[in-house]
Amino acid sequence: MFKGKFIDNLPKIYGTYTGGFLVFIILMAIAEQAGMSAKLIGIFFVAFTVLIYALIGYLSRTLQVDAYYVAGRQVPTVFNGMATAADWMSGASFVAMAGGIYFKGYGYMALLVGWTGGYVLVASLLAPYLRKFGCYTVPDFIGTRYGGNAARLCAVLVLTVASFTYVTAQINATGTIASVALDIPFGIAVYVGLASILMCSMLGGMRAVTWTQVAQYIVLIIAYLLPVFWISNKLGAGVFPHFMLADEVARISELESQFGLGTVKNSAADLATVPKGLAGITKAHSDVNTTPWKFISLAVCMMAGTASLPHVMMRYFTTPSVKSARRSVGWSLFFIFLLYSSAPMLATLSKLSLMDPNLATGIIGKSIADVQALDWYQNWNQANLMFVSDFNGNGTLELNEFFMGGKAVVLATPEIAGLPYVISGLVAAGGMAAAMSTADGLVLAIANALSHDLYYKIIDPKAETAKRLIVARVLLVVIGFAGATIAALEIQGILGSVIWAFDFAMSGLFFPLVLGVWWKRANAQGAVAGMLLGLASGTAYLIWVRTGGAGFWGVTQLTFGIVGSLVSLVSMVVVSLMTKAPDAATQRMVDEVRVPSGKTVLGKQH
C-alpha cells in the first residue's frame, strides 16, 4: 500500500489514520444508538487511542543515537509543527483553559496571549540558531557554546527543575482522565497513564515521540473542535462560531446584569459548604476586569517561559534544515491557534447554555429541585465537579448558587448541551492525548539531558552507543516513576504547576540561551551566574510569597519569573564583563551559528 520511504508517505499514512479515526467515531455513535453503555464507550475511546499510540511507539523503535535524540533530523516542516503543537498543548490547555476563561474572563486570557506570543521569540531569537548548532539537547548548546562542565551542569539543573514541575501536572492529568474514563481509582490510574506514556517513548526516543505526537494532535484537535462547532450550530449561534458569537457574548453581559453578577455576594459560611476546587461565576465574561500590569506581567512570563522550555525547543532540533526549523515554528503556532482561538468560544457557548433561560439547557432561574433531578447534574455532582445549594432559601437557582470545577467546562459541556455521549468519550480521548503528548516530550527532555549531558558528556565520555541508549531508557523509566509518585500526592493543581514551570524555565534559561546567540561577549562564568542566581532568586521569591511575604512590583507567585530573569540578566552581564572574554574559537563558533549554510557546529553523531 505504501511504497517508498516512510517520510515520503507521511501525508498518506496520517490521512489514512485520520480517516480511520473518523470511522471509529461513527462506529461508536452507531454502537451508542444500539444501546452500548456510556461507560463502555468511554473505555473504548481511551483504550483504542492509547493502543494506537503504543503501536506507533513500537514501530518507531531504534538503536541509533541521532534517531533516538533528534528523530534523525528528517521531520518535515508541517509535521514537526503538528508534533510541536501536541507537545505544547498539555492537559492544562485542553482541559483547564476554557474553564479558566469561563470563570476568570479577561484576566485569565493573558495566558492565551502569552502561550502564543512566546513563539515569536522562539522563531526570531532561538530556534533556527539552535538548529544550526546541531545539538541533541538544550544543555548541549549551553555546554558547548560557553564551554565547561559547570555551565552544562547548571543547564541540566534548571531544565530538570522546570520540566519536572511541569511533568507531574501532566501525569496528574492523564491519571484524572484515565480514572474517569476507565472507572478506576486515581492512585492506580496515574500508573496506567504512566505506562501509556512510557510505551510511546521508551523504544524509539524522539523518533517514536514525534510520530505519536502527530497522531495525538489529530485526535486532540478533532476532539476539541467537533463539540465547539456542534454546540454552536445546535444553539443556532452560528455555523462558524469563531466569527459569529458576538451576539452571544453580548447576551451573556446582559444576563450577568439581569442575574445580579457581583451584587449578590456569598457569605463565608455559605462558601464553606461548597466542595473544594469548585467555583461560581464571579467575574464578567468579556469585560476588562484586571489591571494592565497584572495582565501584562503574566503574559510576559508565559512568553519568556515558552522560549526557555526545553521540551519545545528540542522539537526544532529534528527538522532537516535551519530554514525548515524557522517555518516549522510558524506551523506549530498555526496548529496551536486552531485550539486556542476556540477555547474562548467554548467558554462562551458553555456559559450561555447554562445561563440563558430561553434555552432548554439553561438552569439559572429554574427551581433547585428540577436542576438536582437532571441526569448530567447527578453524574457530575458525583464526580465532585458540580454543586448547587439554595443559599437564600427561595427554591430557585441563582447565579451565585451554582458551582462547577474548572475541568467540567470542557468535559461536561457536551453533555449539558445535550450532545450524544460519543462526543464525551471523544473529548476524554482528546484530553488523554493532550496530556500524554506533553508528558512524553517532558520526560524525554529530562531523560535525554541526564543521559546525554550528565552521563555521556560528563561522567563517561567513552560510553558505547548501546550503553548510552540503555542508560537513556533506564532514566526515562526512573523519571516517569518519580513523576507519577509525586503526581499521586496531588500537591498543586494542574494549572498552578504548569505556570510555575514556565517561571522556573524563564528564571534560569531565558537569558543564557538568548545571549548565547546574540551577545558574543557572554562567557561561561556569566552564564553560570545567570542560571544559578536566576533560578535561586526566582525560587526564593516564590517561597517568600507563598509563606505570606508581601512581594513587590505586583509580582505574584504566578509571575516570579520576572524577578528571576531580571536577576539572571543583570548577574550574567556583570559577571561576563568582569571576567575574560570568550576565546577566538568560541567567537568563531557564534559566527558559524549565525549563518544558516554550512555544516552544523556539532557533528552529526556526537
Binding site: 479577561y106 486570557m109 493573558a110 492565551l112 496571549v113 502569552g114 502564543t116 506570543g117 513563539y119 515569536v120 521569540l121 522563531a123 526570531s124 531569537l125 533556527p128 469563531h242 466569527f243 459569529m244 458569537l245 458576538a246 451576539d247 457574548v249 453580548a250 468579556s286 469585560d287 476588562v288 494592565p292 495582565f295 501584562i296 503574559a299 510576559v300 512568553m303 532537516p320 534544515s321 535551519v322 530554514k323 524557522r326 517555518r327 515554528v329 510558524g330 503556532l333 498555526f334 491557534f337 486556542y340 482561538s341 474562548p344 468560544m345 559566527d591 549565525r594 549563518v595 544558516p596 549554510s597
Partner: protein, 87 residues
Amino acid sequence: MSKQQQHWEKTRGLLFVTLAIWFVFSIGIFFFGAEMQESNIRPFGYPLTYWFTCQGSLGIFVILIFWFAGRQEKIDEEFGYSEKEDD
C-alpha cells in the same frame, strides 16, 4: 564591513522590526485594555480588547512568524548563506 557582518546587520534589523510588532500586540495594546474595550471598532461585532485576546493578537503572531521567516530567507539568499536543498 565583511559579507558576514553585513548579513548579521540585516538579520538584526529584521529582529528589531519583528520584536517591535510583537511588543505592540503582546504587551503594548494591553496597557489600554479598558479604553480599547469601549471603542467603536468591533471586529466581527466583538468588543475590541476581547477580540484581541481571543483571536486578534494570536492570529497576528502566526502571520508575523511566517512573514519573518520569509524575510530572513531573502536576507540569507542575498548573501549566499541559504542552505542547499540536499543538506
